[in-house]
Symmetry: D2
């Protein structure tokens, strides 16, 4: 049942990695992961990090995978759901103020699209009429005051709300989960009856973004050359399957070894392979 | 289409009133309402307030309906969803510490059941193992810290969570909605995959509680003698209809006159009557 | 962890039994069950069958529990969700034609309320305007033609739809599940945006019905004297817990022994006791 | 508020048209539509039909837009959600038997992917173990027998279920809605707890398919050159907005003129433009 990641990778020229639970945890990159990345580079594999982490820019996210100051995953191969938000803002909003929920580092994606970020904490409904609200992270604002502020902004102005995260929770540390930006977004959607625009796995746009970046580098790439590696059935695996690429579930993150088969049976989400971790 | 409340009431001996949007707003009792209550009392109507407000005790809730220090609705006729929580704790939890979300006044219902309330803000997962968590109100705690605390308490201890409110939002003032305790409960349910125990309209237990209190006072009462008066289709009206009593929608609260017919058509929830307000 | 049902029952004077998975399967009453019922009767226990089966009348349901032509559970102690439908029709619809989905035997509950049943197969939207639609069973009509007929009747006439079943599926035999009337109701609700009126476990009204019947026989009964016995966490156990009575999960039906703990952990629905079956 | 479609189209080089409610109804192509298509072709517009209709092949769908035997929309510009199913089967299933729900014409997409279609009516769980189940249409099978068959196949074999339709209903004629394949899929998902793979608007993959086909014909195309024209906020408009293209809501289909503003306000889905129809 269990497959060796090292052998598996021979059959694919391009690997999409989820970040949390595969390459790293909240405590940093897992021991041994940089060796694997370096080895894959030597074997000429195209490597992408496909992540729902929009709390900071790809440049900052790439720093986790540096060895001796040299990036093992170049910035342009970090595909954050924030990039989808950036595309959306550029194509659909185009100019003006955009209110955001998240720490200051998350505002990167708004500025990168040529728009003006304003933190939700500074928005006063009387003085500002933002063109769009972007939910990027669960920190950097006061939940009580600012979630209620979003509810009422949306009710009054009918502006789009874009969410860089479909996850409801994320692992805050070894033992605890925290509610993620996607969970707060769900709360506001229920409270207002609105449908927000969610990017990030399992939605196929992030896989399409990564695939077309890889296709630009290698025009002969097909979906059969790609392997999506993730630790979560309901985001990484179901999304990869739907996009039409092979998928490997690793047991180094949220899915524990003794639960994997029961969860696969219960959800009907079947990965192409199961590996202990990318180290094995 | 519109019916006069004053005439309507002739056909019923017992009236259940929703509080917010019918008798009062966040700014206090509507002008003229105390006159109506006094008149109904003179006409020997049995009057109950049936409310999802569990933020304070029935004694405090009853104060809103006093005239010259005399209660127009006696305490024992204030049926708050908190009373259902109290019944649940007495029958099912029976003793021990109960963590609560809400202001101090909401702890009333826990103490009334003979248990020991502890505010969620003071719970440290290492030191306390509450027997139950009760979500009573949206204020009195820090949403970020304490909602995440509830997520992790529930994951570790598998204790029941009881919610005194099925409402997702409530009117904070003339213009704004706030997320209610029921909305936060929904968020934690989605985040943990658990089903909490919700009391309050439209759930039939609160109607059953009020009906049996009324039956104690008048053993000849039948459901046909009861009229439920409320401003919200999805709580007051659908719940009253299901419980088997006649219902009157008033347009003095969340349902605006120009939306009423469209909402009735869209939801399929049809009140027996529609009245402008209980004053008309 | 496992409790003997025989010993357990000493602490309670009144037992509510779920039918399927506890007393019987689609193949008939489990061997040994009639002996248990007879023994409980000798020990003066008040016994009720609390079931979401509204496919036939309580008289016919009671026949399953006869020994030598003598009923071990009298008809008036068979509490079917159909009785809640009957109450609803009597209190809220009162007269006229009521269209129903189900076999002919299910029409009992409509006639018992003094109304005129008409099978959905015979309803022609031009000729009939039923006052209410009742979904009682998944057989006795053509799903394609008649489910679509319900969709369009509801859209045009805004009449109430009452569902005698909250279950999505039921066991058709040892190996297979079938979609239940509650599943079809859910489909029509999604298709029309309407909220139907659902009776049956876990909704508290069926527990309240059974409790008040028991209270009529024994005015000193309290909720602490009652034990709800069922094989399904999401109906029998969560509903009994919410209603405030003790609950026993038996492993003779849908919940298998090797899944019980995982399901309890995953759902947060904790029975007071777990028993192998009522025979042990 | 209302924009002339004829003027609007000057700003775009590529138009994506929804079929039902925009170009045609169940009774056929709307009068005047072929003239509009011919005119757009003369103005060198790239025209695509982007439709959730997977009941027949693109060749058959294209026939609706022929004039004197000449196609006004070539087959390769008919983007049916069935094409996404075909891609999925080719990339992920690759070979073997595939059971399908739909009329015979819907099997086209399975054969086109090089796999062997078998109608669900002919599947006997003992004799066949299909590699995948595809839900393409709501006709061509017996709902009672075959929907229950799908429930039990999925429970036993944990095979993927692919749905060519996210719609819950479709207009059967001027007055009536029918439950669509997407509605039946939702029912089976709820009954089994599984997540199926849904293609079709509002999911972005169908927009991505159409955009990349258009890009192949015109490598200088950008998303700003594309206009999505549809009659339904919750599929055409929300999906187009998310994909990053401009959107025009037409009032010739499911969204009536007197409801448009209320629906936009209620859902928060705002089209870039509103037009009476593509004729005006």
């Amino acid at each position: 049942m269990m497959t060796s990641f090292d052998e598996l990778v021979d059959s694919y020229s391009c690997i999409f990695f989820d970040a949390y639970g595969v390459l790293k945890s909240s405590a940093g990159v897992y021991p041994g992961v940089l060796d694997v990345l370096e080895d894959l580079r030597k074997r000429d594999k195209q490597i992408y990090v496909v992540t729902n982490d929009a709390s900071k820019s790809p440049h900052r996210l790439a720093k986790a995978y540096e060895r001796d100051g040299e990036p093992l995953v170049p910035v342009k191969r970090i595909v954050s759901s924030g990039l989808l938000v950036e595309d959306y803002l550029r194509n659909k909003v185009r100019s003006g103020w955009v209110a955001y929920l998240g720490k200051e580092a998350a505002a990167y994606y708004i500025a990168a699209a040529g728009l003006h970020p304003i933190p939700i904490t500074e928005v006063t409904p009387e003085d500002h009429s933002p063109r769009c609200i972007v939910m990027l992270d669960d920190e950097g604002f006061d939940w009580f005051r600012d979630v209620n502020k979003v509810v009422n902004l949306v009710r009054r102005h009918n502006i789009p709300v874009v969410v860089a995260n479909t996850d409801i929770t994320y692992p805050a540390n070894q033992d605890d989960l925290n509610v993620a930006a996607g969970g707060l977004a769900r709360l506001v959607e229920v409270a207002t009856g609105r449908q927000f625009i969610h990017f990030g796995k399992p939605d196929p746009m992030i896989f399409s973004k990564a695939f077309h970046l890889a296709l630009d580098e290698n025009p002969r790439l097909t979906k059969r050359d790609v392997l999506m590696v993730g630790d979560t059935l309901t985001t990484d695996i179901v999304g990869g399957n739907k996009y039409g690429v092979d998928t490997a579930l690793v047991l180094s993150g949220t899915t524990l070894e003794n639960q994997a088969q029961a969860l696969i049976q219960a959800t009907g989400i079947v990965p192409t392979y199961i590996c202990g971790s990318i180290l094995t």
